[in-house]
Amino acid sequence: MEFMLSAVGLGIYLTYSTPQRTSYEAFSFSIFTILPMALPLFAALSTGITLAEERSLGLLPLFLSREVSPCKYILGKTIGSMMAQTCLTLGTLGAFLLATHMFFPAGPILTFGATCGQSLALENPLAHCMASILVYVLAALAFNGTALFVSVWVSNIFVVAATPTILYFAAFYISALMNSNLNPYLYLALNQHGPSTFASVAVYWIIAAVFSHGLAVLCFSLKKNWS
């Protein structure tokens, strides 16, 4: 799905003019255009709903009666879903980066790179693309953690899948109203209004990922009813 949407981004890229079409630029344009809108939903749908799925199937009592402590269970679920999400996002975007080489030659990113990595876009476009992938992996982890956190209380898969997107857009709207620098959209679109360095973007998403997963583990472990 992520791959297909990125491919759509590639189609849109062809409608824009740029001094030199390169595979790295095509990649950057495609992911920065489409994925900031779709990533929360993809991350939640792919791995974030695993806890809600098992809860709605009624499997938790069967696991917990087999001497699996709630803490061990949620830790396993968290680590498993984080690893799966990392592999999925890394794999999809990595494959997409490779795929762009089939259509365009390698070269610098002249127009559509991340504003926070302009020099890197010109001098080392591959490193720029890798940094962008890393940002998206970290952001996907944060959305995965949000979905897990919601699953602690909600077992409805649709609600769990939709919540990270709803929270993301709510944060986007509120941040825009308050003119806040913490707007999550700016940390994914990486445009001229966004943060100034890749490091600050990475720190933002690492904090969000650690906080959401940590909260999910803590709240699930402290619950009194897991049925």
């Binding site: 199937l57 009624g58 499997l59 938790l60 009592p61 069967l62 696991f63 917990l64 009666s65 087999r66 001497e67 699996v68 009194k224 009813n225 897991w226 049925s227």
Partner: protein
């Protein structure tokens, strides 16, 4: 008898609502205990607390064997619909890692399922899913089995199979707790029944054969009832009056059989109108116990 489970003053409150109010209960090895009660009485909550799916607000749960395995059959079948029956059980067995394919197949065959059936469990009937749940609960040879509405979706043959399976397990020393709405089934399957209402045990009925007799007895008038009650008390028995108030009928718990009892009653001058074994009268005991607020059964 060896105790398998001991519950001491278990309480459970969710928010302001108290679901369980000071439950004390013991379960012996090989005993089949039935829990009956109206909807919302706290039966399932008690099973969840014993199985570790819910934490009690107060009280303690003691298992005689710390490593004793608990098998549970939840109220609704919990399965991965895309996998076949065997692989569903294999997945669950992999958590403890104590049994292999042979034991899983044996458990499936015991409950009447074909381990080689490749159909995904999602296409199973409710009865087959329930059989699969039974298989997962017994496959690891538990010492305590908790069944929440186990007859849900089972056909008559399935219910008979379940009954015979439970008796076999009981003979092997497995203690069983069954929560159900089906009084007749509870009556046939269980050694002892507790009647639950409003979060506490309001009555306990012992159904073990050869232990004590339960006799439903009706007498002519209040004097006969008083005489009977005094004699029962003096002879270590118990008598519980059944409604309505103006009919003198009750359940008598005694060590005597009906032929042994009748000469005593004749000697006392008690005018007996009806007398019959009360094993089949769990329903009456339940109705009497469930008679709640404002004259309505709940």
């Amino acid at each position: 008898m060896e105790e398998v489970l001991k519950l001491k003053s278990i309480k459970k409150a969710i928010g302001r609502k108290t679901i369980l109010k000071k439950i004390d209960l013991t379960l012996e090895k090989g005993e089949i205990l039935g829990i009956i009660g109206p909807n919302g009485a706290g039966k399932s909550t008690l099973l969840k607390i014993i199985s570790g799916t819910m934490v009690p607000t107060a009280g303690s749960i003691e298992f005689s064997d710390r490593n004793g395995i608990i098998g549970i059959v939840p109220e609704t079948p919990a399965i991965l619909p895309s996998l076949d029956g065997f692989h569903n059980l294999q997945l669950l067995a992999s958590i403890r890692g104590k049994i292999g394919k042979r034991e899983i197949k044996e458990a499936m065959e015991t409950v009447g399922l074909d381990p080689s059936n490749p159909k995904p469990v999602g296409s199973y009937s409710l009865g087959m899913k329930q059989r699969l749940m039974l298989a997962q609960s017994i496959m690891e040879k538990p010492r305590l089995l908790l069944l929440d509405e186990p007859t849900n979706g089972l056909d008559p043959l399935g219910i008979i199979d379940l009954r015979s399976l439970l008796f076999d397990l009981s003979n092997q020393g497995v203690a069983v707790i069954i929560a159900s709405h089906l009084l007749r089934e509870i009556e046939v399957m269980c050694h002892r029944v507790i009647i639950f209402n409003d979060g506490h045990i309001i009555r306990e009925v012992n159904l073990r054969k050869g232990d004590q007799e339960f006799i439903e007895i009706g007498v002519s008038g209040p004097e006969d009832w008083d005489t009977l009650s005094r004699w029962v008390e003096a002879n270590d028995g118990q008598i519980q009056k059944l409604p309505p108030k103006d009919i003198y009928k009750g359940i008598l718990r005694t060590s005597l059989s009906i032929p042994q009892l009748l000469p005593h009653l004749t000697y006392l001058g008690v005018r007996v109108e009806s007398i019959q074994p009360a094993r089949a009268n769990l329903e009456a005991a339940f109705l009497e116990s469930a008679h709640l607020k404002e004259g309505a059964y709940r």
